[in-house]
């Protein structure tokens, strides 16, 4: 029997390609760079004005104290804000440069595409380099393209909704994204259309000190249904990268949006993302949020329940290994009667990693008969790791039921003993228990994602268990 030596502690997707870019401006941000970006993208004037307004907001807004404590050493002048990798978008996989294609081979996209996926938008650096829509989606009137194309080709539709859920002055990082955004997905689903296959996009950060500021906008018109999946991975570099996305979802009356994120940035990335959805009457929005990579993630997917009987749900899993801090959570705002929300958060800390659940449930006066339930479970795998739970509940309506529960625990010796007595190694037993712990979230994923997700957890566990 032969064995292969695998260094599982090393980041699996941590290769880096030689940098070969068409346009690579200087580091830092100023109005010249933003204007140049907008010009190169050939954007309409309203978008250029929007970017300039946002830049002013970014410069004016202070870092919030609770944000600043997590990243004392971030330097906004030491980051590339825009890099364009190849000159033109390509319409077929074969036309991509070899190096870019190799990256995606390692990520397994073509396989996934062939088997399951309705369309692929793979983002390499800032521009979307490869994109294909399935013909039947087009026939149904579904628009699924990258955000830059949408601004050019569906300008009126984009302009109507862009920045309405998360205005540029919402927070410092939303302002930054609004000024320098590039790439991301745009989806419009017409009334009554149900997209039965998940739509998918992968993102990669490649160049060192490269900021990735994608912008995603999904509009599900009345009674429609869509599931969008994004997965992230980035190679390891020695200095820190910044990823700051803005994702806006609009679920019109009776519509349903599911948004799944598998976040596996390498352990030098600051991942500071603003995600927010508006759910109108009887609409339903689900965020499924898996955070496994990055140095620091601060991400709190929100649902604003604006119409009666709207529903919001967040399922969140976070894994923090050595040197990592997963500061994740959720936000639910009940602004209409009979709205319901559920937040389920599962976190795992290991090797000194830190997980934080930070959440808010807010019930406005008049949101009668609203219900919300929050459950947070944390698993600490050793005695140097840290778990924090900070759930905020603001209830301004008498006739509303709000509940919260949280537990922190370790893996029981009896559980380990049971599995090891069946012949499993300690690390295999631990992996199995951890996968069982996050199973309520895993089971909501499409099959190939669930497999990838379980595998990622196993790799993380293996690499660090002696």
């Amino acid at each position: 029997m032969s064995t292969v030596d695998l260094d599982l502690g090393k980041y699996k997707l941590g290769w880096s390609d030689r940098e070969d870019y068409v346009f690579k401006p200087k580091k830092g941000i100023n109005s010249e760079i933003v204007k140049e970006m907008s010009w190169m993208k050939n954007e309409p004037d309203w978008m250029k004005a929007f970017r300039m307004r946002s830049l002013a907001n970014f410069e004016r807004k202070p870092m919030l104290q609770w944000f600043a404590v997590n990243m004392p050493d971030i330097d906004f002048d030491d980051i590339y804000y825009y890099i364009k990798p190849i000159e033109k978008q390509v319409s077929s996989w074969d036309q991509l440069p070899e190096s870019v294609k190799a990256t995606y081979e390692k990520l397994g996209i073509p396989e996934a595409e062939r088997k399951y996926l309705a369309g692929v938008t793979a983002q390499y650096e800032s521009e979307v380099v490869y994109h294909r829509n399935r013909e039947d989606l087009e026939e149904m009137g579904v628009i699924f393209c990258d955000m830059d194309t949408a601004v050019r080709e569906h300008s009126d539709l984009v302009r109507q909704y862009f920045g309405t859920v998360i205005p540029p002055n919402d927070n410092k990082f939303a302002a930054l994204n609004s000024a320098v955004w590039s790439g991301g997905s745009f989806i419009y689903v017409p009334p009554g259309v149900e997209v039965d296959m998940p739509l998918q996009a992968y993102f990669r950060i490649n160049a060192e000190n490269m900021g990735q500021f994608e912008r995603t906008l999904i509009i599900a018109d009345e009674g429609s249904k869509v599931h969008y999946i994004e997965g992230c991975s980035a190679p390891v570099y020695t200095t820190d990268s910044l990823h700051s996305a803005v994702v806006e979802l609009i679920a019109k009356p009776g519509a349903r949006i599911t948004y799944t994120t598998i976040q596996n940035w390498s352990s030098n990335v600051y991942n500071l993302v603003t995600k927010r959805a508006i759910a109108e009457t009887e609409a339903r929005v689900e965020w499924i949020d898996g955070n496994i990579g990055s140095k620091l993630t601060m991400k709190y997917p929100a649902v604003y329940l604006m119409g009666p009987k709207a529903q919001g749900e967040v399922l969140s899993v976070a894994y923090a290994g050595e040197g990592q801090h997963q500061d994740a959570g959720a936000k639910m705002v009940h602004a209409a009667p009979e709205t319901t929300s559920t937040i389920i958060s599962k976190s795992i800390s290991k090797d000194g990693g830190k997980t934080t659940y930070r959440g808010l449930v807010h019930v406005d006066e008049g949101a009668k008969r609203s219900k919300s339930f929050v459950r947070c479970d944390a698993l600490l795998l050793d005695d140097i790791s840290v778990s924090e739970t900070k759930p905020y509940m603001e209830v301004q309506e008498q006739n509303a039921q709000i509940g919260h529960e949280a537990t922190v625990s370790k893996i029981g010796d009896d559980q380990l003993f049971y599995l090891m007595s069946r012949g499993l190694s300690e690390s295999a037993a631990m992996s199995l228990i951890v996968n069982g712990f996050i199973e309520p979230v895993t089971k909501t994923l499409p099959m190939e994602y669930a497999v990838e997700w379980s595998r990622l957890i196993e790799l993380q566990m293996d690499g660090s268990i002696g």
Partner: protein
Amino acid sequence: MIGEIIFEIAIEVTVSSEIGSVQAFELENQTVLGGDGSWLTSLREDARKKAIEIGFPAPSEEIWRYSRVEDLTSLSLRVGLSKPIIKLFDGVPPLLDGLKASLVASSSLYLEVAPGSLDIYDQAKNSEVLSVSHISDITKPHWDEYLLMDDFFSAYSLAYSQDHYVISIADNAKIDEPIVISYRVPGEDVAFLPRVVVVLGDGSQANVIEFISSEPSVSFVGANFLSCLGAGSNLYHYQIQDLSKDGYIVANCSARISDHAKLEFGVFSFGGSYARVRAESHLDGADAKAYLKAAYFASGSQMLDFRTLQDHHAPNTFSELLFKGAVSENSHSVYSGLVRIEEGASRSDAFQTNRNLVLSEGARADSVPNLDIRENNVRCSHASAVGPIDPEMVFYLESRGIDPERAKRIIVKGFFNEIMEGIASSEAVEVINELVDIKLRETL
């Protein structure tokens, strides 16, 4: 219980030496009240500097989030700086409004604290095991580092409080009857900053009931209570607050619990326009235990504000918190609590539960239960809930012929019953139950 002995309490009757008063919350160029021991003078000077450094709180600070603390800046208050007059009395003390005769009669020691004066009624004459002193009359104690907390009002009151007393209980003394401390809160323009330290000797046991009430006039109370529990000691500590509706109170209660000691702490908050209690339990020694409870009931436009900390420093420690409250009319309650398990506090258990009943439209309850765990061999959980009275419960009682208003009152009483059951003093339960009844009559 120690037998009858001749009364000889360890304090001297002091005559006031007036050094005037200062404008409250203005800290620059103001002198602090000096103690006889230089340790106190320098600690007070440190406290004053600390208060200046922290600055008057703003709701934008996380620990003051949701609070209405800025209301206090509109009050014009003065703080007395003279050393208080301490008197010993024999016989039956006069009753304060709202305080039950039975509670006072059941006490072993009854203290009435007012700005610049302390009246002592030692009914059980147990001064051999119990002493009451003004802080300036004692030499540097071992607990002085715990006096200064990282909080504006705590630092401020340490710097300026004239009414700062220390109650010491001798090793192995078991005092069953409660020590009752009532605070006579002046109205008008005086800021009252009472401070009490209770020091329990190893293996001792005591039961302290604080009662805070006021005449119907604007008042501000900055109360601080520190308990230091010696090894294996037991302290039952209940704080009952029934200020008039114009009263403001910011209370800090901190407990340092040594190994094998047990604290049972209850806070009962009903009065005041703005009433805040910050309660901290530091489990410093192995096998220390803390049981923390609260019942609160807000009405009108009251704000009742609670901040708790269960801080586990040592292995095998245990803490359990249950805070239950009702809000009615346009009132607002805030509960924000933290369970912190420090590295090394393995095999510890910590539980935290906050439940709120929202009785009318316009009332609001905010709940923020936090966990911060740095040790994995622990059991921790928290739960919190906000909601109205379950209509099915009302229906059940109605179907038994009880009218809906009375049904609601029964349900609210039952809701608080869980808290009342564990209270060691039946006289205290009587006082608290009556305050709940008054609130129920007012609002339902």
